[in-house]
Structure formats: structure tokens, C-alpha cells
């Protein structure tokens, strides 16, 4: 008897003619997640992906829990197209569920099978009731739902469904540039974008020597964690040299506006880089009202420098909700390492929470913005960070 993992992918099956494109991408990402693991075959049919495997199914399910686009997984047994064989398989499967309420839910894509779905339900249900006196039927809210899928190559039986990560297959939604600071929020914003299929590239603003080599390493480590969710085990990270801009801004006549001016410079650099690298959106970890640069007024003034959509997946999240996700995805412990980042070294005493665009434009008039942006871009380096570990 073969073990089969049935992978359900819900949302992408809604897509029209693109559907097989999405499915193929999901299969590619699944193959990548299972690289080096032992399984026989991955195939797709009837809105499902089937992974035939051996006794290592638990490890495979564990690996699939990190793949976006999978809604649920079920461990199924496959039998011959024969009611007796199906009954024996049902008996074994229901042994550990012998004292629950249940129903049988048969599907019959194979219309050549002599019994209809309803008939299968009734016959298998009755058979199980006769064999397990502790079992009772509840068609509305059963504790156990025994699924039977009758298909051309055999019948599949399963009763347990393990939730997957949900979302869309990584890489199906175009490229976005994530402003990655090294704090708690931006990696979570990156994760949520990856979840919707965005090909995420990170952009970090490095203010060495005001921030250290360790803070740079920290951002690389965060990128490495996110790379585990890209479906391909790697992610690009751009590191922009931001020191000169920081120095210039530090001399501003409007110290209260420093954060606003800094964020505007970051968005300008990000926009230029996005155009160059054909990214279609910027992504930030802004959560409304969390800090001075995240008030509606600040977002408005900061956003004014770009024409790209700025995705802010965390906009409605409370800090604790963000932290919960950060813990779940494994970025939290790295994010809280106490290294300086560019936002903490140059924070003014009283950052403006309600900056006015006219005032900001006046403050910027003293700088040669284009040159500053070009210089920072020229010093921007690109790393490809992989989630595989190498020792020397």
C-alpha cells in the first residue's frame, strides 16, 4: 500500500487560463522544498498535487508546511478499484478513530466505477458502523471525515488534513523591492509579500561606520531566513551606502524633519533601483501610527517622492501581532539583536509626527538630491543570499 500526500491548493485553482502556470510554479517550489528527500513522484490532476512517498511522509509534510500556495495536505492510502479493497483500507484507517462521530465523503471523478458517490458513502458507512460499535454518524459536524476519491488509477482514502501555509506560489506575482532595516517589522512585511507570490528583493541602507559590520550581517541573516520562503532557497539583497546622505541630513536646518527627509531619500533610492531592476512595487514594514514616520501625515509626505505603489502589508497590524508572525517565521530572534541601525543612530530628539510637504520641500532645497541619490546607487552592492549553510 503506497503512502500518498494529497496537496490542496485552493486559491490558485480559481485562476482561469493561467491555472497550469500557477500549478507548475507550485510544483517547482514543492520539488525545491523536497530536494534531497526520498519520494517517488510528484504529479498533478483534478486540482490536486499528489506526492507518492514511503514511510518518510512526516518529514515531507513538515517540509511542505513551508511552501506558499499549499492550503492543506492529507496523507492518503491508495487501493485498487475494488469495493472489498476499499473497505479493508477504510477499516484500517478508522481503527484509531473508532470512537468518534463520522461521515464518509466519496468523490468519483472516475465515472466508470460501478457505484455512485452516494452508494459508496452508504456502503462504506454501513460497513464501518457494523465493525466499530463505538462509531456514530454525524453528517453535519463529524469529528472524522473519511474521504474517498475514486479515480482512474485507484482509490484514495484519507481522514486527516494538515493545514498548509496558504497564500500563493512564491514567484507568481512579479517583483517587489523590500526596504529591509533589520528590525522586527520589515522581515514580516517581506514574508507577507512572499506569501502573496511576490518575488521579493531586499534593500538595506547601511550607514557604516555609524552602524557596524554586525548590523549588516544581521540583515544578511534575516534575508537568509526569508530566502527559505522564496520557493527557491535564495533571495537577492541590495545594500546601499547611506552614510554620506546621513551626514548631509544631520546638518539640516530642520532636525525635527530628519526622519522624514531620511525616509524620502530611501524611497527615492529604492524607486530608482526598482525601475532599474524592473521591480513593480516597493514594500515597507510601516504600521500605521507606530512611530513618527508612520503617521498618516508622514506616510503622505514620504510617499510623495515615488510613483510606484508602496505595499505596506503591516499597515493594520498591532506590534504584538507583528511579533507573533516574526516568531512564527523565525526572524524575531535575529531582529532583536541589539545592533545599531541607521534609524536609531540618527534619531532626532523630537521627530516630527505631522510634517508638512512645503516645509519638507524647503528643507530639501539646500541639497542636490539627484546627485545624492545617484552616488548612493553607485555604491549599492548586490548579494544573493542562500538558505543553505556552508562550513568553510
Amino acid at each position: 500500500m503506497d503512502q500518498i500526500i494529497l496537496v490542496k491548493y485552493g486559491e490558485i485553482s480559481l485562476k482561469g487560463k493561467n491555472r497550469s502556470q500557477f500549478e507548475d510554479l507550485l510544483i517547482r517550489n514543492i520539488s525545491h522544498a523536497l530536494k534531497g528527500m526520498d519520494y517517488h513522484r510528484i504529479s498533478k490532476a483534478y486540482g490536486r498535487i499528489y506526492i507518492e512517498c514511503g514511510t518518510n511522509w512526516e518529514a515531507i509534510v513538515e517540509a511542505l508546511k513551508g511552501v506558499f500556495g499549499i492550503v492543506a495536505m492529507s496523507l492518503a492510502v491508495k487501493t485498487e478499484l475494488d469495493m472489498e479493497a476499499i473497505k479493508q483500507a477504510a477499516l484500517r484507517l478508522m481503527e484509531e478513530r473508532a470512537h468518534t462521530t463520522f461521515k464518509v465523503q466519496a468523490r468519483r471523478p472516475n465515472k466508470n466505477f460501478p457505484l455512485s458517490s452516494m452508494e459508496v458513502n452508504q456502503e462504506i458507512g454501513g460497513f464501518l458502523l457494523r465493525n466499530f460499535p463505538g462509531l456514530s454518524v454525524d453528517v453535519h459536524q463529524p469529528e472524522t471525515e473519511l474521504n474517498i476519491e475514486i479515480r482512474n488509477e485507484g482509490a484514495y482514502l484519507y481522514h486527516t488534513t494538515i493545514p498548509g501555509l496558504g497564500g500563493m506560489p512564491a514567484g507568481c506575482a512579479g517583483k517587489g523591492l523590500l526596504l529591509l532595516s533589520g528590525g522586527i517589522d520589515s522581515p514580516v512585511a517581506g514574508y507577507l509579500s512572499l506569501k502573496r507570490g511576490v518575488t521579493v528583493e531586499g534593500l538595506h541602507f547601511h550607514s557604516y561606520p555609524f552602524t557596524s559590520e554586525r548590523s549588516r550581517q544581521k540583515v544578511i541573516d534575516l534575508t537568509r531566513i526569508l530566502a527559505g520562503y522564496t520557493g527557491q532557497g535564495r533571495m537577492r539583497l541590495w545594500i546601499a551606502h547611506f552614510t554620506e546622505i546621513q551626514k548631509v541630513l544631520q546638518k539640516s536646518k530642520y532636525p525635527d524633519l530628519n526622519i522624514t527627509l531620511m525616509r524620502r531619500m530611501m524611497l527615492r533610492i529604492a524607486t530608482k533601483l526598482a525601475h532599474r531592476e524592473r521591480a513593480l512595487a516597493l514594500i515597507t514594514g510601516d504600521s500605521l501610527g507606530q512611530v513618527a514616520s508612520q503617521t498618516m501625515e508622514s506616510l503622505n509626505v514620504i510617499n510623495a517622492v515615488t510613483t510606484l505603489p508602496v505595499l505596506r502589508p503591516l499597515i493594520g497590524f498591532d506590534k504584538q501581532e507583528i511579533i507573533d508572525i516574526a516568531r512564527k517565521i523565525g526572524t524575531y530572534d535575529t531582529s532583536i539583536l541589539p545592533y545599531e541601525d541607521c534609524c536609531t543612530v540618527f534619531v532626532p530628539k523630537n521627530p516630527a509626527t505631522k510634517p508638512h510637504l512645503e516645509q519638507v520641500l524647503a528643507a530639501e532645497a539646500q541639497y542636490d538630491i539627484d546627485t545624492l541619490v545617484e552616488e548612493a546607487l553607485a555604491k549599492t552592492e548586490c548579494l544573493t543570499v542562500s538558505d543553505t549553510v556552508q562550513v568553510f
Binding site: 557604516y208 561606520p209 555609524f210 552602524t211 557596524s212 559590520e213 551626514k247 544631520q250 546638518k251 541589539p338 545592533y339 545599531e340 541601525d341 536609531t344 543612530v345
Partner: protein
């Protein structure tokens, strides 16, 4: 030019030490416990190192040397090992400026094992008051642990006076108070006389004296009972099981030999480097020295008003000058070092403190260059922050 000024954090391994260790990785690689020739080779090297280090420390007996994985383990073994060998919890006296590897086992004992602890306060130079120590000693006091040279500011405790106080307290006591000294920062730069100072346990670390990391020793005077922390095959007289790290022990012995031969010349070199360094640094406006004038010759703690220590450190590393921040602090919680706090610095002052760790191998030219770079960086950062 590269000028490494963080010798209190760690030192590069001396090439002579590397050479001494080399054959013990792949030629004389036997397990000292093995009965065959290779084992005997390793065992005799081990015995030779033990004898040599006992001689350096003027210990009565080579068996008083217990090799460990380093200063931290030595301090843990001294404190936990001693406390666990007592039939009931007692009183430990230590100082407010000890290394965490002393403070943390002690706070473990006080939190979990019923020990009472006194942390002796220090004055603005970092020194404890021996008279205060005398008043603190009670009939329950069974262990006193005091570092010889502090790792952050370099203050040297008045061990002669401290030793007299403890000896006086021990007069007529049936159960003597044990005296442990953390000498990890002192060994090689400050003279240590175990017998005159009546030290019962002394911690030494290899990588602070141009030896390898992962090796250290605890001197344990004969008669002092310790419970092991690591159980196993009974190596190191049962005090520290595990196959001996022979190459590292050879390295430790060689490094100790290099440190003590020419001790006087080394001291003179360090004194000159230190005085030159200080005279240059204190010319920088808004500079202050946290180290006492009579401190260890190799540790200088200074601060520059308004300059965050991390920023200065990163500025200097670009210019090939490596030094250390004086206080652990993060962007979110300004947590000043307990040592700088104990000598009365404010969190702001602690946050601007850098530590310079000198060594006998530095030259005046290097110090000159480092001072030029420090002065230039301080000026540059001040200019940026306006």
C-alpha cells in the same frame, strides 16, 4: 598601518606558541591516558607543562594546577566547585566589578542554593576598601573572590592588604575562608605571588597572553576541596574529566614562558606605551581617563564627551585601529557596564567609554598612529553631529 588595541579581549597567538603546539596536533597526538608509546609521549608533555606552570606560579606541587577550557571555566570551577563541597550554604564575598564568569555563578548560588552574597563596593578608582572587607567577614563567610586586575578599567586591587585582612580573619578559625583570585587579566603583566598572598585558587586564561583560546587553568592549593563540574574519566585528578587538550596546554605553557621571561622589560615597555598614549589622548578636548593612574599597565579606559563608543570603534576600524567599547549597550536599552556604573559613571559617560588593551609587542609608532587616528575620528564625528 594596523594597530590592534584590544588585547584585553584576546590576543593573537604568538608564532613561537604556534610552533610549540604544532607537533602536538599530528605527531604527538596520543591520548595521555593511553598505555602505548604515543600516549606516554603526550602524557609526558602534559606533565612537563604542568610542572612548568606550577613553577611559574610558585605552586608547591604540580598537582595544584588544573587545566580547564579557559578563564570562565576556571572561575566557575573555583566558585561552584568550592560551594558545592561545603556541607551547608554559607556566605560569599566578592566585588561589584568582577567578571560575569565570577558574578554569575555566585548569583546562581544565591538564587538557587541558599548562599548569602556581599558585593563589595568600589571607590571611583575601582578599588575596594580592605577595612570594609574586614567588617563584612562573618563567621559564615567561607569564600572570598576578588579579581587582581579588572578587565574594563585595569584597576589593581591592593592584594597585600586584602590578604592580611583574610589572614587575620582566619586566625583561630577551624574552617578557613578560601581566597579565590581571578588573574585572567593580570597574569603576565602584573606580578602575582600565590604563597605570599595566601591565595587558595587562581584563574588564568591562555588567550589573554598570546596563547590559544579554549585553554586555561585553575590553581588549587592542596587541601582545598572542590566538587567537579564535569564528570567522566577522572582526568586532572578527578577535578575536570575529559581528554586533555594537549596541544592547547603546550600552547598555554609556552605562552606563559614567553610572558614571564623578560617580565621586567615587558613592564617597562608597557609603562612607556601607556604614558605616551594617555598624554596624547588627554590632549583631545573633552577626554577623560576612567582608569586609575596606578592601574595595570595594559588597560586604559577613556571616554570622549559626546562620542558614542560604537561609532568611534567603527570609525577607527576603517583606519586599521581596533579597540573595544567600554560598555555593552544597545540602541533600545542603554545598559551601562556594571563596572563603569560601580565607579560612578553615568549611563551617558559609560556609553562614550572605549577600552584600549595594550601589549608588550606594540611600538611607539603604532601608538602614535592610533592616537592620530583617534584624535581625527573624534574631531570628525563631532563635526558631523554638530
Amino acid at each position: 598601518m594596523e594597530v590592534y588595541l584590544d588585547h584585553s579581549a584576546t590576543t593573537p597567538v604568538d608564532p613561537e606558541v604556534v610552533a610549540a603546539m604544532e607537533p602536538y596536533w599530528h605527531l604527538h597526538y596520543g591520548n595521555p591516558s593511553s598505555p602505548h608509546l604515543l600516549g606516554v609521549e603526550a602524557e609526558s608533555a602534559l606533565a612537563q607543562c604542568r610542572r612548568f606552570l606550577a613553577q611559574v606560579l610558585k605552586a608547591n606541587n604540580p598537582n595544584e594546577i588544573c587545566f580547564t577550557s579557559g578563564g570562565t571555566e576556571s572561575n566557575n570551577l573555583a566558585i561552584l566547585g568550592y560551594a558545592r563541597a561545603q556541607y551547608k550554604p554559607g556566605h560569599i564575598i566578592t566585588t561589584a566589578i568582577e567578571h560575569p564568569s565570577v558574578l554569575n555563578p555566585i548569583s546562581y548560588l544565591s538564587a538557587n542554593c541558599g548562599w548569602r552574597v556581599t558585593h563589595l563596593p568600589v571607590d571611583s578608582s575601582g578599588k575596594i576598601d580592605p577595612a570594609f572587607l574586614a567588617r563584612t567577614i562573618s563567621p559564615e563567610t567561607s569564600l572570598i573572590s576578588i579579581m587582581l586586575v579588572n578587565n574594563e578599567i585595569g584597576v589593581i586591587q591592593d592584594m597585600a592588604e586584602i590578604s592580611r585582612v583574610i589572614a587575620a580573619a582566619n586566625q583561630g578559625r577551624r574552617q578557613k575562608i578560601a581566597f579565590h583570585v581571578d588573574a585572567c587579566q593580570a597574569f603576565g603583566t602584573v606580578p602575582i605571588d600565590i604563597s605570599r598572598l595566601k591565595i587558595d585558587m587562581l584563574s588564568i586564561s591562555g588567550h589573554k597572553i598570546f596563547g590559544p583560546k579554549g585553554i586555561g587553568l585553575l590553581y588549587v592549593r592542596t587541601g582545598i576541596q572542590l566538587q567537579p563540574l564535569v564528570f567522566g574519566g577522572g582526568q586532572e585528578g578527578g577535578l575536570r574529566s575529559g581528554t586533555e587538550n594537549v596541544p592547547a596546554i603546550v600552547g598555554l605553557a609556552k605562552a606563559a614562558q614567553l610572558a614571564v621571561t623578560g617580565f621586567e622589560e615587558h613592564a617597562a615597555v608597557l609603562a612607556e606605551l601607556r604614558s605616551h598614549l594617555l598624554s596624547r589622548l588627554l590632549q583631545i578636548p573633552g577626554s577623560f581617563c576612567n582608569s586609575p593612574p596606578d592601574g595595570a599597565p595594559h588597560i586604559v579606559s577613556v571616554r570622549f564627551e559626546g562620542i558614542r563608543a560604537e561609532v568611534l570603534v567603527h570609525y577607527l576600524e576603517q583606519k586599521g585601529v581596533y579597540l573595544s567599547v567600554g560598555a555593552a549597550c544597545s540602541s533600545h536599552k542603554q545598559r551601562a557596564s556594571h563596572v563603569l556604573q560601580a565607579i560612578g559613571l553615568s549611563p551617558e559617560q559609560a556609553g562614550t567609554t572605549v577600552r584600549i588593551g595594550l601589549s608588550r609587542k606594540l611600538t611607539l609608532e603604532q601608538i602614535e598612529y592610533a592616537c592620530d587616528m583617534i584624535a581625527a575620528s573624534v574631531a570628525e564625528v563631532r563635526q558631523i553631529y554638530g
